[in-house]
Amino acid sequence: MRERDARAYEAVHDAADFTELKRRYKNFVVPWTIAFMAWYLAYVACNNWARDFMKTQVIGNINVALVFGLLQFVSTFVIAAIYGRFANRKLDPLAAGLNAKYKRERRR
């Protein structure tokens, strides 16, 4: 049983679709993770070291600091939505195909 599982995993691992799935996943999450971390740390750093910039008035009593903070919310919502769309379209179909392959291999 265990051996058959291991063989099935090997077979999926060696499939071209799996290499493609891994590539798509990495090409998405690595740049986006770097981007949102840098964007967040830039905000933290501005709170510490760019206070004059943060104090700048935008409209009425709303200043750059508040707008920058609210933009962190916006970017989080947007990135979560982009990732969901990407995963539904580009990752799930490949993963489903490979999952089916795994089930076939186990029955062999």
């Binding site: 967040y40 943060m54 009425g60 993963a95 490979l98 999952n99 795994y102 089930k103």
Partner: protein
């Protein structure tokens, strides 16, 4: 304006002066919360049959349901009352916590949730134990799970004691201790009887109550300011007595260079800690597949984000409408009563029927929040004790599912008892730092090993053990020798000074150390046997092949 419906029976009209709101009404609503949650627990208990039911709610929750439950688990009383209170007192700086708390969910969404769902079963350790030596890895992961959960639990329970005291208008230490015992007893009941299914439904109910209450108060606050944010901010700045500075960075964090580095350190722990919090991680096992795990996080991000945006209205609203000067109730409670008192104020003010009703309502929401969060934490620690320590380390032969579940239930009672025993004496100490410390430990001990295990083939048993203990010990030791424990009038221990580490937040040092220990341990351990099953782990994590499915009855 007042919310006076003429139908209110006279017995509900506030009686005592100097008491916040109407105690009878508050206690009735508290009892209603307890009754509803106990009913859910009893109902869920009839459906718990297998280990997957008890630990993972049968993996049958939908993405939206689990998203609500994740939000319920995450939005503790500390974020509900603490963040709005902090904004009420410190203005803009009070808002900063919530941004780290929210952005952190992207780490969980992109790097952890789905892969963990596919490769684990019941606990955080399952995913590590997949390709490593069971005993050392499970012992390490269970230790860090229990430590993080107990820190978090203590902060919640001590908060519960003083909060319920404040809301009911009682000052006696005995009553506070009684509240801690009651909260502890309830969480033990939820967890031992209801398991994950019961606990998840408690979280869902709590999340709905919390969102509804917050939307209502936010609406009433914004109504007072004609839905004009600038007007609200202006009134808050003027009433706070701090003027423009109230809307700018600097009132709470980063007063000097040490403070600025400390704030950066806090920011790192918040953003990297969420994806390593064990009680959040095990939530991803309650859904049928990785797609629903993704939906859960998306729902959670929407709910938590909306909630934190509303805390802005609550916090600045409290600053604009309440007295927050030195010696005022808001100031002496460190901001914790800002939201309840704001509810009273927008409902028509102290002594009015509308005010009393809204105050009691928000107090009951806060109470439901505390109950739900402590239940989630107790379940997490009990599961890890039974499934990781008992079944795979302590027991000489693999125990039956039945005896493992019996141990899980006893562990919940044991952990609940320990939490009660620690929380009662801890009431006299300033332990507000425990939540930040839980995040720092999660980011330093859990996240490095989770990420290495998923993405680094060479990672092995000694790497995992080193990174968990290394991250855990460095975070705890640095805090023990920091100003939050000794050396300052606000420290946990007053009258002693053994603080040589200048920062209150250890993350900036302990998180890199956690990763470094993982690398060092891996190479020094030399063991390469874990590479063999990396193929299996990576296929399973990315495709869901062979992942645990829904339990069928």
């Amino acid at each position: 304006m007042s919310l006076v419906p003429l139908l209110i029976p006279p017995s509900l009209i506030p009686l005592a002066d100097g008491e916040p709101g109407n105690r009878v009404l508050t206690i009735s609503l508290f009892s209603a919360v307890v009754a509803v949650t106990l009913y859910i627990t009893w109902w869920a208990s009839r459906q718990n049959k297998t280990a997957a039911d008890y630990y993972a709610g049968g993996r049958s929750f939908s993405g939206a349901q689990n998203g609500l439950a994740v939000a319920g688990d995450y939005m503790s009383a500390a974020s509900f009352l603490g963040i709005s209170g902090s904004i009420a007192l410190y203005g803009y700086d009070g808002f900063l916590y919530s941004i780290g708390f929210l952005v952190a969910w992207l780490v969980a969404l992109l790097l952890v949730a789905e892969l963990l769902r596919n490769s684990g079963r019941f606990t955080m350790a399952d995913q590590l134990a997949f390709r490593m030596k069971q005993k050392p890895v499970r012992t390490a992961a269970a230790t860090s799970t229990i430590v993080v959960s107990i820190f978090y639990l203590l902060a919640q329970m001590v908060g519960a004691g003083s909060l319920v005291g404040l809301l009911l208008g009682v000052k006696s230490e005995g009553v506070k201790a009684g509240v801690i015992i009651l909260v502890g007893a309830l969480m033990i009941v939820y967890v031992t009887i209801g398991g994950m299914k019961g606990t998840t439904w408690v979280q869902i109910v709590k999340a709905v109550l919390l969102m509804t209450g917050t939307v209502l108060i936010t609406f009433l606050v914004m109504l007072k300011f004609d839905f004009n944010i600038s007007k609200l901010l202006g009134a808050a700045a003027a009433n706070s007595g701090k003027g423009e500075a109230f809307l700018q960075p600097g009132l709470l964090y980063g007063k000097d260079l040490v403070g600025q580095i400390d704030f950066l350190s806090l920011g790192l722990a918040l953003v990297l800690g969420t994806a390593g919090l064990p009680h959040i991680l095990i939530r991803f096992y309650t859904v049928p597949d990785s797609r629903s795990a993704r939906r859960s996080v998306q729902w959670a991000i929407g709910l938590i984000g909306a909630f934190y945006l509303m805390t802005l209205a609550l916090g600045f609203g409290a600053a604009a409408l309440l007295n927050t000067a030195k010696g005022s109730p808001v100031e002496t409670s460190k901001g914790n009563v800002a939201s309840p008192l704001l509810a009273e104020s927008v409902g028509g003010g102290a002594g009015s029927v509308g005010g009393s009703i809204l105050l009691a309502l928000i107090a009951a929401v806060a109470f439901a929040t505390i109950l739900a969060v402590v239940a989630g934490l107790t379940l997490t620690s009990a599961s890890s004790f039974a499934h990781d320590l008992y079944a795979n380390v302590i027991a000489k032969t693999k125990p039956s599912e039945k005896s493992e579940l019996r141990v899980a239930r006893f562990a919940a009672i044991g952990i609940g008892a320990v939490a009660i025993a620690l929380a009662i004496p801890a009431q006299k100490l300033n332990i507000a730092f425990l939540v930040a410390l839980a995040f720092a430990v999660a980011a330093s001990a859990n996240l490095p090993s989770l990420l290495f295990n998923l993405f680094w083939k060479r990672f092995n048993t000694s790497g995992a053990v080193w990174s968990i203990y290394g991250g855990l010990i460095s975070a705890v030791v640095l805090v023990a020798f920091s100003p939050v424990v000794s050396g300052k009038p606000t420290s946990m221990i007053t009258g002693a000074d053994f603080a040589w580490f200048p920062l209150s937040n250890p993350g900036i040092v302990s998180i890199p150390l956690g990763f470094l220990f993982g690398v060092l341990g891996t190479y020094l351990g030399k063991d390469r046997s874990s590479e063999a099953r990396y193929t299996e782990l990576s296929v399973r994590a990315l495709t869901g092949a062979g992942a645990e499915g829904v339990t069928k009855h």
